[in-house]
């Protein structure tokens, strides 16, 4: 397997330089600071019912910010990292080396995904800190008033981080597949954003599939769009995990994670097939 090892090595080098490029850009730092400020600002939220409602509010707010800014980062940064190589013709130098196009694309993916991992971990740690501090306060209050507040679970938060990271991985893979086909950065960003929105709304199509309809064409369209577009909502078992309120079915996390990985693999395969035919 020396070939396999060399190939992995090359992918790793590409992703290392991609990671470096992303981290040395201002855009990443800017979004990170912005979303960190947003999570931290939730400290000031005070909801009246002192209990589960408040922690849930903080958590939802944090998850929302993480998802929104994470998606922006995944779409814009990934497309940017890809097109900076194309437009600056650095891809010309790299692809003239003994490097396959698949390795190049995979390297870009891993680099961008690693950046998103840093993003998710930093934000989740801040969110955990806020939740933990507020929970301690609420418990002290509850002891006085006799109510029992919801407690948050750090292990649940860790699982949640993993799922968010996978969700952003799916978005990154989609954007790379689109970029491999697209001529311009703008096109990739616009179509990538549309794909994220479609992924958020995919459950509507999924619901519709279950209802019988008399038009075969319509059913076919729904069926295809359900398979083609991943359901990004399914990663949203955040507050169930973190606050342990509604029970999460034992296999649910693994199932969602598996489907996420399958989508990542599928989109990367499509992307590299398209990219192989691209003229640099």
């Amino acid at each position: 397997m020396p070939n396999m090892k060399a190939s992995l090595q090359r992918t790793l080098w590409i992703s290392r330089v991609t990671f470096l490029e992303a981290v040395r850009q201002r855009f990443f730092a800017f979004l990170l600071v912005l979303s960190a400020a947003m999570v931290l600002s939730s400290v000031s939220f005070r909801v009246f019912d002192f209990g589960h409602g408040e922690l849930k509010f903080i958590a939802d707010f944090g998850f929302g910010g993480m998802f929104f800014f994470g998606s922006v980062l995944a779409v814009v940064m990934t497309a940017q990292l890809f097109f900076s190589e194309m437009d600056n013709k650095t891809a010309l130098t790299l692809l003239a080396k003994p490097l396959s196009r698949t390795e190049f694309l995979l390297g870009k993916f891993c680099g961008a995904w690693a950046v998103l991992g840093v993003f998710v971990i930093v934000l989740a740690s801040l969110l955990g800190l806020v939740l933990w501090a507020r929970e301690a306060e609420l418990i002290a209050l509850a002891e006085q008033s006799g109510k029992i507040p919801a407690t948050f679970s750090a292990a649940g938060l860790a699982e949640f981080v993993l799922l968010q990271w996978l969700r952003l991985g799916v978005v990154t893979a989609i954007v790379l597949a689109i970029s491999a086909l697209a001529r311009t950065f703008l096109f990739a960003v616009v179509v990538g954003s549309l794909a994220v929105v479609a992924g958020q709304l995919q459950w509507i199509a999924q619901d519709a599939v279950l209802k019988p309809s008399d038009s075969l064409l319509y059913e076919g369209f729904l069926w295809v769009s359900c398979r083609l577009i991943p359901n990004l909502q399914q990663f949203n078992i955040g507050d169930a995990l973190v606050l342990g309120s509604a029970g999460v079915a034992p296999g649910a996390v693994a199932e969602v994670a598996l489907s996420g990985l399958l989508y990542v693999t599928a989109y990367l395969c499509v992307g590299s097939l398209v990219f192989r035919r691209r003229e640099i």
């Binding site: 130098t93 003239a96 003994p98 640099i280």
Partner: protein
């Protein structure tokens, strides 16, 4: 042994615009580039030189025709491991330093982990970039970009080096230095293919040339054969008086030879420039 590069009946059409108008960049081109020589590919802007090189390297697909490179039927990864490429108007990851870039390229080109360090220093030395190697590439001048590009192209000790306009934007002293680097490579038995618009330099550096026009090959051959006019002779004479000139012409006429022109030899602007200027600050 097979030629370094062989191109047979190569044609490339680019589709431009939504209506898919075809633009023929390379038109039925056939070339054999022998090993161990410096080969110059010349031609006006847009005649298809860069496109031909990109097709040879597998970066662009051919519409018709065949290529082979170092005996491989296409630019497989094994062939590219033995090839170095400097693209035209090179632009590298500007957030890396020169040394980081050359190291990155060495790793991607499959230089063994324990010899990467030495290979990087050798290549930087050959390109005279050791001093500036720790500066970010974003701060490099055009000449330095070309030289760091040369370093990344030769860092894995390739058998075949393809240079697309290595001297564009480089001052005469710098391009003479690049000419010497090319000769160093050739003396080690490498094959070098280069495109350039500096005909004077091509004449000095290359062993063979091909001239393209509108995607077609118009002339190919060894530089000496192509340029020598074997029916004419040049003599350089010192301290010639009019009387001496008349006597010489009469003597030549007695043998049926005829003097068609008498001029003063000129030195080239390049020689003058190199005599007066010591070198660029980057060098």
């Amino acid at each position: 042994m097979s030629s370094a590069i062989s191109v047979r009946h190569l044609t490339k059409d680019f589709r431009i615009g939504i209506r898919g108008l075809k633009l023929r960049a390379v038109d039925d081109l056939s070339l054999e580039i022998p090993r161990g020589q410096v080969y110059g590919l010349l031609g006006p802007n847009g005649c298809g030189k860069s496109t031909t090189l990109k097709i040879v390297l597998g970066l662009v697909s051919a519409t018709a025709g065949e290529i082979s490179i170092l005996g491989h039927p296409s630019a497989t990864s094994a062939a590219r491991r033995r090839t170095g490429f400097l693209p035209e108007a090179p632009y590298f990851h500007k957030f890396l330093t020169g040394r980081e870039l050359v190291r990155y390229c060495a790793q991607l080109s499959g230089v063994a982990a324990d010899s990467v360090g030495a290979a990087v220093e050798d290549a930087l030395g050959l390109a005279a970039m050791t001093e500036a190697a720790d500066r970010p590439i974003g701060t490099y001048s055009k000449g330095m970009l070309q030289r760091i590009g040369f370093a990344q192209a030769v860092v894995h000790d390739p058998e075949l080096v393809i240079l697309d306009e290595p001297t564009a934007g480089v001052d005469p002293v710098g391009s003479a230095a690049i000419g010497r680097m090319i000769h160093t490579m050739r003396d080690k038995g490498k094959t070098i293919v280069l495109c350039s618009h500096l005909l004077g330099q091509v004449e000095q550096v290359c062993d063979r040339v091909a001239i393209m026009d509108r995607g077609k090959l118009v002339l190919e051959g060894a530089v000496d054969d192509v340029l020598a006019r074997r029916d004419r002779h040049v003599m350089t004479v010192e301290a010639m008086t009019p009387a001496a000139r008349d006597a010489a012409e009469a003597a030549l006429a007695a043998h049926g030879a005829k003097v068609t022109s008498v001029t003063h030899p000129r030195r080239s602007l390049e020689d003058l420039f190199r005599e007066l200027v010591t070198g660029s600050r980057d060098a």
